[in-house]
Structure formats: C-alpha cells, structure tokens
Point group: C2
Chain length 232, copies 2
C-alpha cells in the first residue's frame, strides 16, 4: 500500500462538523483514541504497547504512534522502560491518593478564587453546565463533558488556567483508576447535589463555603476510591 493507508480515519477527520475546524490532525485523533482505550482499561496495567502492533490496529504509521506515546508518557498514562519500550503505567492507591490531594489543593484554591470574583456571566455558565449535567442522564460521555465544563468554568473564572491544565492531565490517571475498579453504577452518581452546592456557594460569592464544598466533594470521592482500591 502506498499512500492513503487509513481511509476510515481520514473520513472521521472530515466528519466532525460541516466545514468547521478541519485542523484536526491525525495525531490528535490517535491520541484521543489511545488515551480513551487506556483510560477505559482496555489494556491491563503493565501491558506492553508494541509500536508496530498499534500501527496495524490504528492504521497509522510509526511516527504518529511514537509521538502520541510521548504525549501519553507526559500525562503519566504510559511509561517507557529502557530497552523494552512503552508500557501502560501501573497505578495504585498511593498514587491516586496523591492525585486527590493535589486536586484538593488546586480545586479548593480555584473555587475560592472563583467565588471571590464571580459575576453574573460566570454564574450563568455554571448553571448551564449543571443543567447539561441534569439533562445528560445515561449518556456517559455527556456526563463527563458537563462535569469537565463545570470545573473549567471555575478554573478559568479564577484565572487559574495553568492549574486547569494540570488538573486535566491528572484526571486521565484518576479516570483510568476509576474505570478499572468502579462499576458503571458507581459512576452514575457523579454527585450532582455536591456540584450544586459548589455552584450555590459561588453564586453567593462565598469563597470559604466554595472551598469547603469542593474539598468535601473531593474527600468523599477519594474515600470511595480508597475503599475500592486499598491494597490493590
């Protein structure tokens, strides 16, 4: 085969929207796919990611796969063993606990900062994200997207863009851990009530309450994860 070795991906590349945002690069598509597969637990921890196999499975060339693996490595989802190549990163409760601790600090700070400066626009955005969350019953991706949006509004409003970057990267690892251990039923309770409490505190411009609400939420989430993972 000469060129055009990946017709289905090429098609997907154009399919997103009618004429809009075409600059979706192959690398990004592959990145999204591989990341999703790892997070979903389709590869066991420690599984080798053999480049040529991935090339076949994804229908792309080694260059693309290698660059994507570097990115996933930076995200902590993949690690490369010397002379053995990339493997799916091992995760345990010790690491997850650290990540929850970091999120506690960053999200607490962001929520407080957001509450301190939130104007009507921010509050409306938060309300919209909450509505989207309510409307997204069942749709797994929709729930995730609405939740992500909710936090993004908070971080951005607080002017914590850098922290938002970090939290997003960390979330990959936590998502994987959750997918590996929690059942779908467990995940179906994303804590709308607690997020509403966060939104209410921000709506009242009460920084202390907002921080407290976020921290309570996270501590509870961490506790659930801990019970599932302790000793794993």
């Amino acid at each position: 085969m000469e060129q055009a070795a990946h017709p289905e991906l090429r098609a997907e590349l154009r399919a997103e929207l009618r004429i809009d945002q075409m600059p979706q690069t192959l690398r990004e598509i592959v990145l999204g796919r591989l990341r999703a597969a790892i997070i979903a637990g389709r590869f066991p921890s420690g599984a080798r990611l053999v480049e040529r196999t991935l090339c076949d499975q994804l229908g792309v060339s080694r260059s693309v796969v290698r660059e994507v693996i570097r990115i996933l490595e930076a995200e902590g989802l993949v690690e490369s063993l010397p002379n053995r190549g990339p493997v799916v990163a091992r995760m345990d409760w010790a690491q997850a606990r650290q990540i929850y601790d970091i999120r506690l600090l960053l999200e607490g700070s962001a929520a407080a900062g957001c509450a301190a400066v939130a104007d009507a626009g921010v509050k409306a955005d938060l309300a919209a994200a909450l509505s989207a969350l309510e409307a997204a019953t069942g749709g797994e991706d929709a729930v995730f997207e609405a939740t992500t949006r909710f936090y993004e509004v908070i971080f951005r409003a607080a002017g914590h863009d850098v922290a938002w970057e970090i939290v997003q990267r960390l979330n990959g690892r936590i998502s994987r851990l959750r997918a590996l251990t929690l059942t779908a039923a467990d995940r179906a309770v994303p804590g709308r009530a607690r997020m509403a409490r966060i939104a209410a505190a921000i709506g009242a411009n009460d920084a202390g309450a907002a921080r407290q609400a976020v921290e309570d939420h996270l501590r509870e989430a961490a506790e659930i994860a801990r019970r599932m993972l302790e000793g794993a």
Copy 2:
C-alpha cells in the same frame, strides 16, 4: 550520508561513565539540550521552531526532534499553532504568578508533610544538599542541581512524588522567565539562608514552621520576579 550522522552526540552518549547507565537515549540528550536552550532564552518568545533547521543544528533526525517537541509541548515550553508548527511559548507575569501560586500550595504541603515524618536519614540528605549548595559557589549548574536536590528530598520524603513531577515541569517555565529577565547577579542569591531555615524547621519536625518557611521563601521569590516582569 547513511548512518552515524551525529558522531559527537554518539560519543557523548558513551562518555558518561565507565560501563554504567548506557541507556541514555538520543532523545533524552536532545530533550535536555533543547530545553536548556529555550530556558536560557536562546530563542525569543514566539520564535518558530522549524523542525528541519533544528535537525541541522542538533545533528539528529526529524523523528527525534518531533518527539522532543511533543514532550516540550507537554511541559508548556513550546506550543504548536495549527498549520504553522511549534513555536516557543509566550510567557508573561500572569502565567508566572499562577505558577508561583501552584508551587506555594504544592511545596508548602510537601514541606509540612516532610517535617511530619522526617527521620535522621532525611535530615542528613537535606544537610548534604545544603552543603553542596554552599560548595557550589560560582558553578551555575551546580547551584541549580543542589537546589533541585534539596527540594526533591523534601517531596520524596513526604511521599509526594506526583507533586514533584508537576513542580519540575513547572520549573522549566519559571526558569525561562527568570533567565529572560534576571541578570546573573540576581540569580547568584538563591537564598541559602531561607533554605537553611526550611531545613531547620524540618530538622525540628515542625510542620507549621516548615510550611511557613517555604511559603515565605516562595512569596519573596515571586515578589522579586513580579517587580522585574510587571507589565511585560
């Protein structure tokens, strides 16, 4: 030319130690070089990083350069514009301030955690790092290395490996900003006294004092940076 297109790097690859840790990969060497060059301010903000030019300058192939650029992108030192390719990331005080804020949270937490559990071994390691810092008068890299080591001991002892990863990545951006604006004379005062205060607090297993010392140190560093950068 067929193979062996980069003799000097290959040589460096073997030169490190007698028979030890050969698995230093070309990619890592190039990563270190390019990162150092960007941090040192050898490229202006927004400068395009033309792949083939870098290949010539570094004497390596495009594969290596591209993968390295992906890594630097994840570190926030490089950003890729659609259809234009990678450029050196722009930095301003707003971003630096965020990074200092994040470090305040993470390093404060790590110092407190370290102080809470530090044993004789940890204290000895900290003392050793401090001595190395004293001994490293003039050697710029040596100062940086000793400082890095000091904080690494703190984070590792506190069991905050994930946070240490994050701080290291953030440090690239801060280092660049400092190099762009501070003179060598300014940098020559890395605050040994303040680091000694941190070590003392940890030596006394006083978590509150350790956190306070770290936060004071960082606030001061941020203040110096702010005065240099305000409005830039």
